[in-house]
């Protein structure tokens, strides 16, 4: 299936950009006339991935987050990328309730939420270089 539409945004790894990123992704998919539930799913998943880049990737220091969204038919692909700390053990990181930062009031539910709200997730990471989270969602007609 070919690409029907694509967008890329790059923004500072600041907590105020979490809402910017999710509203931006939601606006991109409005052409599909998605349900309120589908929009909520996308917003939540984006918020989780961007928050992780800010808190864990860059550990609340300066950095850049890239988001790319691709629409092919009724399938959306979202890629969120940072050049931060990276993840040593991806399988462990994706386990429900696992968090490396309990002292920051994290619950360890971010990846579990992304998995539940989207139709597929892939994580690539290189310790010391960064992390890419790729998610897919199919919008039913």
């Amino acid at each position: 299936m070919g690409i029907d539409n694509e967008m890329k945004v790059t923004f500072s790894a600041k907590s105020e950009n979490e809402s910017f990123a999710r509203v931006c992704a939601a606006a991109f998919v409005t052409v599909l006339n998605p349900t309120v539930g589908d929009i909520e799913d996308v917003k939540t998943a984006v918020s989780e991935a961007v928050t992780n880049a800010v808190i864990h990737g860059y550990e609340n220091t300066e950095g850049v987050v890239r988001m790319r969204c691709v629409l092919s038919g009724r399938e959306l692909m979202i890629e969120i990328e940072d050049d931060g700390a990276g993840i040593e053990n991806i399988a462990l990181a994706m386990e429900p309730l696992y968090t490396s930062r309990p002292e920051l009031e994290r619950s360890g539910m971010g990846f579990t939420v992304m998995e539940a709200f989207m139709d597929g997730i892939e994580v690539e990471s290189s310790p010391g270089h960064g992390t890419t989270v790729r998610m897919k969602k199919i919008f039913n007609t």
Binding site: E16, T44, S47, M109
Partner: protein
């Protein structure tokens, strides 16, 4: 995002308006803990009626306030007026084991 804390004697009642994410959760944490510290309240009731969005940062924020209450001792945390979207993320996290829920703030007050 807006946070209003109401001193209801043994209950601190918190009304949140807007999105709960990592950015806003930090402010909620600061304001609620400060109001709780200044009050003689045992319990905290949080109304989600006007919360338009919540991600896992809200789960962490609730777990944190549960700890705040436990630190003083003997109190309860009640999540009131949760919408369907917020209920879904709340139920996923297993929070219902430690935080009770109520349909309205009045019901929450009655339960305490």
């Amino acid at each position: 995002m807006e946070i209003k804390c109401e001193d209801g004697g043994k209950n601190l009642i918190v009304f949140i308006t807007g999105d709960i994410d990592h950015h806003s959760a930090q402010e909620i944490k600061r304001k609620v803990d400060k109001s709780f510290e200044r009050s003689n309240a045992k319990n905290i009731i949080i109304s989600f009626k006007n919360v338009s969005f919540m991600d896992s940062s809200g789960i962490g924020m609730l777990m944190g306030r549960y700890k705040t209450i436990n630190y003083r001792g003997g109190g309860k945390l009640v999540a009131a007026e949760m919408t369907a979207g917020i209920s879904r993320i709340f139920d996923m996290s297993g929070l219902s084991k430690i935080i009770s829920r109520a349909a309205t703030v009045e019901e929450a007050v009655r339960s305490l």
